[in-house]
Symmetry: C2
Subunit: 303 residues, 2 copies
């Protein structure tokens, strides 16, 4: 199968490319070239020429990771709309016109859910508050409609907080969930912008990439968009487990909660991701396994 | 209140303008000029200059009726996306930037629901199959997010089949629901493209316009998009009631069901539009009142 991966130079893209290379023919698209994959398409996702190049290569599947993330979208709403909605819609439309039944695996986000009250399941209505969450909900709706019509086969995976992203500015408002891992390994103090009782849904990037690989061949059916299972943990539990496994000093972690971040990322209730589990998508099992996976990925990337 | 109405030269726009004139300051926008309202903005909704003109007039409220309807959207998906999604998004964004808390009343459609099984209520998930339905669902999601953020106050009304639209090509796949009224008044034979047992959700255009007026001042709360109540009737019941009130010969009505139209428009189950009723939105009460209202509007328009 010929698979086009957008956002391929990102950290999740990199993990995905490693898994796909040798199994599928991989076309990698991003604004900068990453290290792996045979064929790179480098440029702006909103550039018709680049999209034309991708179209001529006639992929059988699209894994659409490229996005303007939450914080960056709030900074530049017009750019975010153009990339997250218009460019994605255009890319899918053009690829689907060439390849009937195009498999589209879309990186959606739990940001589509918005503020939550009570437990979450597959029936929870979507009430995004971040522009980013609205953009993802919009793409879910569009891809679902095209799937219902038989034009494409879409699987939109709502990702929880992925750990650990690389250090440095990512435009993600949830970057703190990853930064705490790096701080522990570097024996640096870390100030968490949410309180120890803030609850999050988390997944290791390795497990995230596994789920994307699974989505390339899973039978597609309604609902075409669903929430992935995730490990639910509080910031305090996460901090303690990271310190234990990294051998760092828990006293280096302090808390200075930001009300906005707590609202957006620190109030995730229990999650029953029944549909995703039935389809064979998995979380990391427990917090210890999740932390071990995230630390292992950081250490591998360093060497 | 200064109210901008798009699609103002359409049949629903005309009914709405008659109700708003004298009560509010009305700005009317459409690709051609209608007969009423003080201030017309004529041009393409996707034209930045026209949108700029509207923006400078700083409306307090937007009633967004303009759309590329179902059948026309299937004929030209790119145009429909541009008008139904991109132009709407751009217009709302620009008006909201000038007027905090802009009231936006959006003409959504029951097409957002898609194929239905069992009764419909406010929790029924959105599974559109028509591109038009997807576009409306996308706009609902966008406007809901902006409302949740406090940028605007959106009310998205999911309209059932409105009767009676004027005769002639409208780009609506559901035009047959209106054409039967005109045929009865003209004493012409009518071939229904759905069977007599096909069930529909209907509202008179007069009641539809009343509901839009109500939406301009109703308190806004979650969910910001909801299905309007409607009279549910079969094609056979509708035909009999029209013939009775119009004094036409029921034998002039015959049936030649089209499977696609039956699927899209002829399988509407019982509807409980609880949220809309609580907010004060109403249907026509019963089939006899609905038919009387539709016939009265046609007769008024003729004179």
């Amino acid at each position: 199968m010929r698979v086009l991966v957008t956002g391929a130079a990102g950290f999740l893209g990199g993990e995905l490319l490693r898994r796909l290379t040798g199994v599928h023919e991989v076309l990698a698209l991003d604004s900068r070239q990453g290290v792996e994959a045979a064929h790179w398409l480098v440029g702006d996702l909103a550039d018709p020429k680049l999209v034309g190049d991708a179209e001529r290569l006639a992929p059988d599947a699209l894994v659409h990771l490229a996005t303007v993330p939450g914080g960056a979208a709030e900074q530049d709403p017009a750019l975010a709309w153009r990339i997250n909605v218009e460019a994605g819609q255009e890319l899918v439309t053009r690829l689907a016109a060439r390849r009937a039944g195009l498999r589209v695996v879309f990186a959606s986000s739990i940001a589509v859910l918005g503020a939550l009250e009570g437990a979450v399941d597959d029936q929870t209505p979507l009430r995004p508050r971040l522009l980013y969450g609205a953009h993802k909900a919009i793409m879910e709706a569009w891809l679902g409609t095209l799937s219902r019509r038989g034009d494409i086969e879409a699987v939109s995976l709502r990702l929880p907080g992925l750990v650990a992203r690389p250090r440095g500015p990512s435009g993600m408002k949830s970057a703190f969930m990853s930064d705490i891992f790096h701080a522990a390994l570097a024996r640096e103090p870390f100030v968490a912008p949410v309180g120890p009782g803030a609850t999050m849904w988390l997944m290791s990037s390795a497990r995230g990439a596994d789920n994307f690989v699974h989505a390339l061949t899973v039978p597609v059916r309604e609902p075409f968009a669903f929430t992935l299972p995730a490990v639910r943990a509080s910031m305090g539990e996460l901090a303690a487990e990271i310190a234990r496994q990294a051998g760092s000093d828990p006293a280096q972690i302090s808390y200075r909660p930001d009300a906005g971040l707590e609202d957006d990322f620190g109030r995730y209730p229990p999650l029953a991701a029944r549909f995703a589990r039935e389809q064979g998508f998995e979380d990391d099992g427990d917090l210890a396994s999740l932390v071990a996976s995230a630390l292992a990925t950081i250490r591998e990337t360093r060497t």
